[in-house]
């Protein structure tokens, strides 16, 4: 299982999140959306773990499972060495101080009828931390920390730009001093010049507070910039995991290579012929057997992957670089 050397903050083993599809008069289960289909990973203290993949790959669903916004169908999640997978909401509550989520769309994810001060303080209120006075003070401190004026506390989300609302979301998530932030596409909806401001803020906060991040995004360049390790996800499964630099310099899986190649490079002197992969991004409803990517590109060796154990293998002992061992996509079958 992919892991790093120090004691992990979060350990996920063979996690599955299948949503049943019901049909017919009797609402029988006729299929399943296998949004997350056997994912294992660990995140260490102070580490940024980047999760990259295209739409429908299950990355957002995975993020929600980890903060227990969803109840996984199978597998285990251990946080600070405690199994939180099947925990009821009441027992889970104290853990919610330790991990928080920042959502993608700052326009949608903040309650428009709450003032900024109320929004930032809400997690503290839920966790019954501090008094009204101490919370107000903390809100002011957090707003300053994310680069907003204290006076912002009296205003409402609609009065702020996308980048500013994202900062509010981050301030809110930090109010309970978490160890782990799950960030689901935190900068995708922002203009480039604002994106870099928010990324810098996140890096600063990580240094100052010793935070771990699970950074979920589709933009490999952004993910690589902020991450220590990266996992590439395709149709509910991880196909490759490793140190960020290594994944970029030395991708082993055909899908990782395709992703890297598809990213337009902002340098006209590096124009190259594009050889985009064919076909559409697949749907997680009743996915194909075996290696889904091999199936997409109709690789002649796809058939070999059907029925095989496709759990990630390490490219070399101790390399920390793991890849799905299918003959159609890698050399590690």
């Amino acid at each position: 299982m992919p892991s790093d050397v120090s004691t992990p903050l979060l350990e996920v083993e063979d996690l599955k999140m299948h949503f049943p599809i019901r049909g017919g008069v009797l609402h029988r289960k006729i299929g399943a959306v296998k949004a997350v289909d056997g994912v294992s990973l660990t995140i260490g203290h102070g580490e940024t773990f980047g999760l990259v993949g295209e739409s429908g790959c299950g990355k957002s669903t995975l993020g929600k499972c980890l903060v227990r916004l969803l109840d996984p169908t199978a597998g285990t999640i251990r946080f600070k060495d405690t199994n939180i997978t099947g925990m009821g909401q009441r027992r889970l509550r104290p853990f919610r101080q330790d991990f928080q989520m920042v959502f993608q769309d700052p326009a949608e994810s903040l309650d428009g009828r709450m003032s900024v001060g109320e929004l930032v303080a809400e997690p503290m209120v839920v966790q019954r931390i501090g008094s009204r006075a101490s919370r107000t003070e903390k809100v002011a401190e957090l707003l300053n920390r994310v680069g907003l004026p204290e006076a912002a506390a009296q205003k409402f989300p609609f009065e702020f730009s996308g980048g500013q609302r994202q900062r509010i979301g981050i301030a809110r998530s930090l109010s309970v001093n978490p160890d782990l932030l799950v960030l689901d596409e935190p900068v995708s909806a922002l203009d480039v010049s604002v994106q870099s401001q928010v990324i810098n803020l996140m890096l600063e906060l990580q240094r100052d507070f010793g935070l771990s991040y699970l950074f979920i995004a589709h933009d490999l360049a952004v993910v690589k910039h902020v991450s220590d390790r990266i996992a590439v996800m395709y149709l509910g499964k991880l196909v490759e995991v490793g140190p960020a630099e290594e994944i970029y310099q030395n991708p082993q899986h055909a899908y990782t290579k395709a992703l890297i190649e598809a990213i337009p490079i902002p340098d006209p002197t590096l124009r190259r012929d594009r050889n985009p992969i064919e076909g559409d991004v697949p749907s997680p409803i009743n996915p194909p057997e075996g290696c889904a990517f091999g199936h997409r590109v109709s690789h002649p060796k796809w058939q070999d992957s059907v029925g095989r154990d496709l759990r990630l293998v390490e490219t070399a002992p101790g390399s920390g670089h793991w890849v799905q061992p299918c003959a159609c996509c890698t050399d590690f079958a």
Binding site: V192, S196, L220, L259, I260, P264, P266
Partner: protein
């Protein structure tokens, strides 16, 4: 030197709002030559989409209005042209594709019918002939099993497929210019690569020009011959693509290029940023709006800078504080 295919001079477009007239495009000039790909790049609110919609007057009515300027297409003036002229130009000579194909396609009409409609609008051939052409077009844009697809509805297709259909509709009358407004922004990166390839292929097959509107500088670098950088309703810099990336002269262009995380950056390093944010359109100063963003409030914000050619084909908004 042949005349440009499209020549825009001092274009200004505004919207009538409760708070008065808002100039979303405030004096924009650039041109597109036959077969050329020009990229129009800028962040939200810079006016790039409004500029492109002004060309063929697809502005929301009655609020939107072209206020000033000249839009010459193949020597004909489109600004103030009557609806009949514009209608014949739209689709026939200038094709358009948008960011959200679902917004542009009729959800309750089969794909085939929509393409046939577009064809027959400009070329009144019998329906079965138009349908044959539609199947042909779908094949050209890389849709597998096109005879089956023509009977389907938009929701039955994926995002990438729908974009291909939109391209097919836009190109059905072989236009000389394709306006592509954020054509791949809503698509996954692997599908984006397919669509950009397709646009390039259609271009080399037909010799058409493309006006590509996007905020993605990577796409600009890969697809475009020339780049027009817009900020707060104006053009701040305009140059051939290699020149712009190698030698950006305006502070905004430099800031934009600098703030993109690249795959070869030092990991977790602080990214150069542009401080502040663009002002609200209601608060724009008459002078340099980038100075306004930077918090400078001297004379540069009062007088509009000249837009001049500083080197062959390299145009710059000449604000003394912002250029180097």
């Amino acid at each position: 030197m042949p005349d440009p295919l499209l020549q825009i001079r001092n274009l200004a477009t505004g919207f009538h709002t409760e708070r008065g007239l808002v100039r979303a495009v405030d004096g924009v000039s650039f041109s597109i030559d036959k077969g050329q790909t020009v990229g129009l790049v800028g962040e939200s609110g810079c006016g790039k989409s409004v500029t492109s919609m002004s060309i063929i007057d697809l502005l929301p009515k009655p609020a939107g209005e072209v206020l000033e300027g000249s839009i010459q297409f193949r020597g004909r003036e489109l600004c103030g042209a009557d609806e009949e002229t514009l209608r014949s130009v739209r689709g026939n000579e200038i094709g358009v594709i948008f960011q959200e194909p679902m917004a542009a396609l009729n959800p309750v009409q089969r794909i085939g019918k929509q393409i046939v409609e577009a064809i027959q609008l400009h070329d009144p051939v019998p329906t079965n002939e138009a349908l044959r052409r539609a199947v042909d077009l779908l094949e050209q844009v890389g849709i597998p099993a096109p005879e089956q697809r023509v009977t389907e509805y938009p929701h039955q297709l994926s995002g990438g497929m729908r974009q291909r259909v939109m391209i097919a509709i836009a190109l059905c009358c072989k236009p000389d210019l394709l306006i592509a407004d954020e054509p791949t922004t809503a698509l996954d990166v692997t599908v984006q690569a397919q669509i950009l390839n397709l646009i390039e292929k259609m271009q080399s097959d037909s010799g058409m020009a493309v006006l590509l509107i996007t905020h993605d500088l990577g796409v600009i670098a890969e697809q475009c011959d020339e780049v027009v950088v817009m900020y707060a309703g104006r053009v701040v810099e305009r140059a051939p693509v290699h020149e712009l990336f190698a030698n950006p002269r305006h502070a905004y262009t430099k800031g934009l290029l600098g703030s993109i995380p690249r795959l070869d950056n030092e990991r977790k390093s602080e990214l150069p940023t542009i401080a502040g944010q663009v002002a609200s359109i209601m608060d724009f100063v008459p002078g340099c709006r980038f100075c306004q963003r930077m918090g400078r409030d001297g004379s540069t914000t009062q007088t509009r800078p000249e837009f001049s050619e500083v080197e062959p084909d390299h145009w710059l908004e000449m604000c003394t504080e912002c250029i180097s």
